[in-house]
Symmetry: C2
Subunit: 195 residues, 2 copies
DNA sequence: TAAAAAAAATAACAATGGATAAAAAAATAT
DNA sequence: ATATTTTTTTATCCATTGTTATTTTTTTTA
């Protein structure tokens, strides 16, 4: 028996669903356990699900043509994980999504969500409001990327998400910030010598 | 008399609005003419509107503490312009939004849109679907920023948005790509000598 | 708990991109 | 059309960040 309450609580922060609507939503959820390092999305395959992280942590990353990984997003409990472009356009993914820990996700199939959003106004509102927030944050990250040094971005990140920074390997954080792991290591060692 | 049809046509690509719903939407639109270089959003003031560009071009930019401009977005006809974070959270803006040409915008007040989205399911769907697209593109830009060189980002941009690249000053495109205008100039001169 | 694997640190050198200043070219206003 | 302002180019030097290789530390697995 799975506990859907964290997801329902999340939704409740934005909109109100009737009991029947909650039941319909639950009926389309597919619970999956994912082992650490396992991929739930891979380039080439269409990303059919939007996944809510009930337990654990994930990252979405892009593998470039010289084999380097670039982390697009890092998510923990109560976040969603998807290759968003692949998901909303239902075209082959360009990214991987990988469990950073043993995790449990609630998967929602694209077609099911689209149908439910068409039928349940509040659910449409929920995704509208949360995606607007996500978009606003993404724009802030763009500003950070184009206007700040790697050092500034690093300190900005550990201040904003200290628990995540301590939970994921440093080389993954480096690839999220857009710097080499060696350079992030250098940044950190400079800090220690200063303080 | 203003022509609302481009906006309605845009909406129609995603959802269907009844005549009455269209009328309600029109009733909240405020038409504004904006002269080139004029600011429609400024740091400190809450961004009360989501603006549809009926004619002209805009950019949203961040002015950092050493006085340098960083362009967050560039939009032309049939796009929206907003300091998104300020708009959706109704908190003071951190960015400017500036007309790059003499323009005409259709402004929608935050409260009006929120109310209409609560009352008109299709409109909620419209903003959900379009914001999902915007978010997906923003993530792609993040990948580009963290994984590519300035040169690659430049050629990627002019290939993707050739008409915009030719329509805005080069120093603004540079600030969008996250490079100095001098370096963008250098990139361009290298291309010419190669070809 | 020991061995193996993964992650982080260090260091020398290289490349990308920024700062500054000046000149040239283009756009705008008078 | 000319003067003025804005934008772009050019060039030199400097700072930030990447690369490669090696070592140390930490984590995982047997």
């Amino acid at each position: 028996m799975t506990d859907f309450s964290p997801l329902l609580k999340n939704i409740n922060r934005f909109v109100t669903l009737t009991n029947e609507e909650q039941a319909r939503l639950k009926s389309i959820l597919k619970v999956s356990k994912v082992k650490k390092k396992q991929m739930i999305i891979q380039p080439g395959a269409v990303c059919r699900y939007r996944s809510y992280i009930a337990k654990g942590a994930f990252r979405v990353f892009y593998l470039d043509d010289v084999g380097k990984e670039h982390t697009v997003s890092i998510g923990i409990e109560d976040w969603f994980v998807t290759d968003f472009y692949s998901y909303i356009n239902q075209v082959p993914a360009t990214n991987y999504a990988q469990a950073l820990e043993d995790s449990v996700i609630l998967q929602m199939k694209y077609e099911d969500i689209e149908l439910l959003c068409k039928e349940i106004h509040s659910l449409s509102e929920y995704f509208r409001l949360t995606t607007e927030k996500a978009f606003a944050y993404s724009r802030r990250r763009v500003i950070s990327n184009i206007s700040k040094t790697a050092e500034q971005r690093y300190y900005e990140y550990i201040e904003k998400y200290p628990s995540i920074a301590n939970r994921v390997p440093q080389y993954i954080l480096a690839s999220y910030l857009g710097v080499s792991p060696e350079f992030l290591s250098k940044i950190r060692s400079q800090k220690i010598s200063k303080s």
